[in-house]
Structures are given as C-alpha cells and as structure tokens.
Symmetry: C2
Subunit: 250 residues, 2 copies
Amino acid sequence: MNILLVNDDGIQAPGIRELYLAVKDLGDITIVAPDGERSAIGHGITLDKPMPVRTVTVSEHKTGLAVDGTPADCVKLALSEICPVKPDLVISGINLGSNTGLNVIYSGTVSGAAEAAFNHIPSFAVSLTTYNAPNWSPARRITRTLVEKFIKHPLSGRQVLNVNVPNVKEDSLIRGVLATEQGMAQWKENFDKRIDPKGRTYYWMDGRKLEMEEPETKDDTAVKNNYISITPLQFDLTAYNRLDEIKNWI
Amino acid sequence: MNILLVNDDGIQAPGIRELYLAVKDLGDITIVAPDGERSAIGHGITLDKPMPVRTVTVSEHKTGLAVDGTPADCVKLALSEICPVKPDLVISGINLGSNTGLNVIYSGTVSGAAEAAFNHIPSFAVSLTTYNAPNWSPARRITRTLVEKFIKHPLSGRQVLNVNVPNVKEDSLIRGVLATEQGMAQWKENFDKRIDPKGRTYYWMDGRKLEMEEPETKDDTAVKNNYISITPLQFDLTAYNRLDEIKNWI
C-alpha cells in the first residue's frame, strides 16, 4: 500500500512524525507537507507565487518534502510530481486542536484530506483535541486501525473521514469510537484593536469556543464525552432543500 | 437596509466598485475588503499575525476599510468592530472568474458570503466568468434585483446564494436565471519545476479547467449556456448517506 502523509501544522510538527511512526510498517510512505504552520488556512491554494521545496528529516531514516504552500498545494504537488505511484490512501495530521463543527470549514488538516478525495483517493484527517501535553497514543492507535481496515475492506467511492481524538491522560479513558455528524460547534472571535508605533491601526484576532448543547451523535460532543469521533464528509454544498424556494423566489 | 460588501480580489479591484455602484441607493453600505488579491484563499482566517487596516477610496464619495486579511477575516472584523449595526445582508464580489463546481471550495468570494451565514446574516456571492474584458452590466443588474427581492421577501434561515454570471458581449445574450446545483467542475493542475539562482527547486502551479459533461441543472453548465446561475449553499459537510457504512466499518 502506498500512503501519502500531509498536515497543516508543518512538516516539523510532532504530529506528522507521530503519524509516520503509527503507519510506517503498513506501506510505502511519502511525506509532503507545508514548511511551517498553515493552520486555519481553509482550502487555500497558491496561484500567485512560486512554491520552493526542500527535503527535511521527519523521523530517523525518513525524509519528507517541505513545501512553501498550503496542505491542498502539498497534496496537489505530491500527486502531480512527487509520489512514485498514485497513493492508495492519504492521511492528514495528526493535528493539534480539534476540527469539529463549523471549524471543519476553516481546517487546513481537513483540506489536505479533501484534496485527495477530489482526486479520487480515499483519505482521512486526524486531529487531537489539545494544544499542549498531547497523549498521542490513542490517535496513533486509531490511525493504525483505520489503515488496517482500509487495507482489508476499502470503503466505496470518494471518502473523507474526519477523525477527532480526545486528549486523555490514560488511554483507558477513551470510551469507544462513534460515527458522527458534523455539528455546529463554532468559535466566537474577539478583536484586540491596537496602534502601531507609526500611529496606524491594526487588529489581533483571537477567540474562544462557544459551548453548545448538541447530542453525542455530533462530532464535538462525542469528543467531549471521550469518544473518538469519525465523521464522513462530502463536498457538494448544494442546499437541496432550498432549491424549490429559490426557484420560486428568483 | 444595512449592507456589507466584501470580496477576494481586493478593495481596489473594479468588481467591488461595480458592486457598490449597483446597490448604493438601496441601503446604507459598509465596505470592508482585503487590501490586495486573496483569490483561492478558501475559508482561511488569520490567527498568527496582526491585521493592519487603512481607509481607502472605493468610489467617488465612498471609502472602505482595507484589511491585511482574508475575506472571512474581513467579515468577522466588520461584524465585530466596524459595522455601526448588524448588516441585513452581506454581498461578496463581484469576482472576476467563475466560482462553480468543486472550485467553490477554494473560493475566497464564497467564503466571505459563508462567513456571514455562519453569523446568521443572509448573503450572496457574485462572480463574473471572465478574467478580462468584463461586461459588468448583467452582474450589476442581477445583484440589484436580488437585493430588491431580499428587501421585499427575505429568504428563510441561513442563506448563502452563489451567483455566477456569464460574460456576454451584449446583455441580450443572457438567456435567463436558473436555480442550480453545485456541479463537479474542476481544474487540472500543472506544475512547472524550476531551479532558482542558488540551485534550489521551486514549482509554479497553474491549471486549466477540465471540460465536463453536466446537465444545465448544474452551475457551470448553466453559465456556459449563458444563464445566470444561482446555487443555494449550506455548510454541513456530513456525508449522511455514508453514516451507516461507516458505523458498520469501524
């Protein structure tokens, strides 16, 4: 099996090394990832400037290609120029920070997986719901399990699985794996207005997650309740239930 | 009516001025847009650096706020800090180049409209299917018509309409307006591999649109056939028809 790895935290981030270590004996692994952090990049691509690349060490005896581009750029470049054969599977991650609810739309991690699906290659994105003190072990284990399942029973058609893993102190605290729906979990932004030394205005954006009441069938709640959440995604955004309303309205 | 305008071609691009001229007498207009081109930025947001802003002239007697950020940043900033009251409507565009099929996922223009919908404000994105010799008149007319319809009969719930307008030499060549579904129109990338003066490798990405056979009920075909295409979009990406398969598989 040929597997392509990508992420949005950058090729030197610990998560992609953990991802590599989780699957390295399951196939021939190619690593192509951004040369630095590209979080919250959405499905951006780079059309207006060149993309320098360089080979870097990801793990002992394993190099990857660092690209001055986005996760979607990396997958496009890998499929077009780098991979010796078309990959059987693309994995994006392991991301630090969850990608659930509406935040899926902003996620570079998910966009790496989506780009693979646009090219008819099954893929999944893996995120760990913490920014510090990560316990990689459950994320590595579910990643390995999913690859083994793909080898034995490939899913049909274009597939993007969005996997979110709770960060737990003890692996035994994981309560299981749930197939979930994308919820509406959302961040509320705050803008800090400042003045630069030349008297010009600028803003810093930060935010906090809004707490929402959603059932355990939704991604974010499943993870909060210590389940590993797996959401199948698709990228036809048509609001089919609105079509008749629009037809009558225009 | 309070209307917020945004785009992804940058606040100095002609399309946002045309958009302003189309609707300026229909409400109180606020303009907040990127300070330069942010095409193909997807739904990226700016978390890792500050966003300088400055006031610029968009049209005679009308200024707007130029933001060193993405379309989604602009809408977030406008709603949080700039708009005197919550807008009744957000319009993103007028973009040069179509946003149809899978390319909707990469579109900064659509992301500006989507960000509004995430904040429970109805919105639409307008794109004109050309990069040169634009005939703005049909795009201006449909924009104005849609705003007038919003005033008379607001649509229910969160709404994002993705409007694509064919570029025609004579306005009479427009055959009508169709409510469409997002198709699978896609670009095929090409990577040009080059070596910089210091011997390092870099790539330039370009691409061409793949011609696809799709019915006129799909966005791209409708526009190719000289219809104005209006696609209602939503942002729950859950592949509901896959959930049972995933439940059995994991």
